[in-house]
Symmetry: C2
Subunit: 377 residues, 2 copies
């Protein structure tokens, strides 16, 4: 919680629930990432938070952008970035959307299958393409499925195929998993990538770019390494596996760029118990839940730190839930959350590190509740 955000809550008293993002923190994160990996181009993962204020700031700072679709491309262009700073990083694209991106000047596309490569050739001829490789996601807090990427053998044949098509294969990408708390996880993926590069070199295809993906974390309840530590681990791994032929690299921070810049303020709607049993934990119901922006509490994956101001009572174990009539709208039941025993209905609670993956995850109008409001200061 920055002084600027604290002042905003104190002076403006915005209606809850709402998110307040301190743009100075976003700028600081950008600069720390640039310092940690000075030779990498930064492609901000727009999906983490596409607010125009954030996009305009990052465009001004010189960031590039990783986008998931045409709507995000339009937002980035509106924020002042040129199309050569945009990557269409989604491996699942309608051909009409590729054509729309191409018409806007986008010339860098991800793929992980032959069919997608053919769509790109037809709809975005001559563009640069990179192939996403499947990785394990060990050590990441947000689950990484096998949804994206293909294995290295398939990547090799697809990149060779691309060479003979009207596209320009320039490299490979991978993702070590969102909220990746272990900087060493890039090592294994870089070993596989370097091996792929060598095999393709032997076949006469020289690649020049490695997309290191995202995964850079935000500090939630557990502590995380610094950007600098990630930089050191990744640079070491690049040297180890690529020797003196280190490729161009790009990174795609989303959570690591905006997560810790935001704070949600919520109000306690109800505190209750289910029985007269004194040992039972209290239920604390907030005016925000899984469908109002906190979707990443799914399976209690992301555990946000909570702050209660003005209460000195002993922290007691609680179950925390949202305000909707949906029984799945429980935030934390297994995780050990404690709140002051003198917490009262109407108290405000601040949910820290909520700048990423909140506003756009919010449901349109579930139970009639409005989507999460946000203020960028």
């Amino acid at each position: 919680m920055t002084a600027k955000i604290a002042r905003y809550f104190a002076e403006r008293r915005p209606a809850t629930p709402c998110l307040v993002v301190d743009l100075d923190v976003v700028e600081e994160n950008f600069k720390n990432l640039r310092k940690a990996l000075p030779d990498s181009a930064i492609y901000y993962a727009v999906k983490a938070n596409p607010a125009p204020e954030i996009l305009a700031l990052l465009a001004r700072l010189g960031s590039s952008f990783d986008t998931a679709g045409v709507a995000e491309i339009d937002m980035v262009l509106a924020a002042g970035a040129t199309p050569d700073r945009i990557s269409y990083g989604n491996t699942i694209k309608k051909e009409a959307d590729i054509a729309a991106a191409y018409a806007r000047g986008v010339r860098l596309y991800a793929f992980d299958s032959e069919a997608e490569l053919e769509k790109i050739e037809r709809a975005a001829p001559g563009s640069e393409v990179f192939c996403r490789i499947l990785t394990s996601g060990n050590g990441a807090d947000w689950p990484l499925s096998r949804k994206f990427g293909c294995d290295v053998a398939m990547a090799k044949s697809l990149l060779l195929k691309a060479r003979d098509m009207n596209v320009e294969p320039i490299g490979a990408s991978f993702h070590v998993g969102s909220q990746q708390r272990d900087p060493k996880q890039w090592d294994e993926a870089l070993a596989a990538t370097a091996n792929l590069f060598r095999e393709l070199e032997a076949d006469g295809l020289t690649l020049r770019m490695v997309n290191l993906g995202g995964g850079f974390p935000t500090k939630y309840k557990k502590s995380v390494p610094t950007a600098k530590q990630y930089g050191i681990a990744i640079t070491d791994a690049l040297r180890r596996h690529f020797g003196n032929r280190i490729p161009e690299t790009i990174i795609e921070p989303g959570r690591g760029m905006v997560g810790n810049a935001g704070v949600i303020q919520t109000e306690v709607v109800l505190i209750s118990k289910k029985s007269h049993n004194k040992d039972e934990r209290s239920w604390v119901f907030l005016d925000i839940g899984k469908f109002g922006g906190l979707a990443e509490t799914m399976d209690e994956a992301i555990q946000y730190p909570l702050v209660v101001n003005g209460r000195q009572g002993t922290p007691k174990p609680v179950i925390i839930a949202g305000p909707t009539c949906d029984s799945a709208d429980v935030l934390y039941e297994k995780a050990d959350y404690r709140l002051p025993e003198d917490l009262a209905i109407g108290d405000k609670i601040e949910i820290l590190a909520t700048g990423a993956y909140t506003t756009t995850y919010s449901a349109v109008a579930f139970n009639g509740f409005e989507p999460l409001k946000a203020h960028y200061i």
Copy 2:
């Protein structure tokens, strides 16, 4: 899939993804439920689908409405229902929202805790209240947590307390779990409720209403009993436990009222494999996913039937996923889904029984994708 919906898709060719709801099916469901439980008042659970067209139809048919908040109350009033046909059924309400509902004429409120009762007394003096009891949810496909309700002993003391306050305790409610495929599950809850009524009678408090909740299912992949079978099972249980003093009852169908009235049409964006291994299942990526309206595929809880027109190929096992850059956006991986082997990119797939819990669950703009569009015909 009704002929009316099939014709709509064929003639209008709406952009995908979109939901089309046949209002005739909603009307038929309403009439079947009224016939199955002729002595129960029907309170449609607005959260399942609050489209103005559905609310207006049900208001005209004489339905009452179970609402989760003030926004839903306003939608119901706008649809032409009077406030005496509205229940504020959420047990987690801000006091300001109770006051707003009271100002609009709503006089029926749910509670499951002392603090909520006190809020209702202050903000909606003289209103009728009912206490929600915790039940197990066995046999339901959508998980029922302990979020709502209190145990019977606590319900007893809260209802006695209510008698001495400026509110009128009229009964109790429970919920056997959403998509409850076993009509016998009402029996256990009604036994507990009848026992509560007898104990309170002995203490001089006569209750007159049982809210039987929702839980009435929609046919997805597995077959479900008919409304008539639910009616018989519930009527039998009421006679068994209440004898010749059967109370007033209300039911709160949501899914059972609108689920089978809707069909989502989606387009296949990509079909791919992760390796050259021939035995591997194909991934089929649709233009709708978990964040575009299919949130109930969480943990593969709700398994929608899929229909592919114009393909005769042998059905082959597939993994089905959504179009976003989120690795959690996988719909079905464990459930045994099969699609024709000649399925191609660009094919349309119809997702049946998607009239409930889709449009409002849809994310505002995750990955820049627009919320689910819907057409009511």
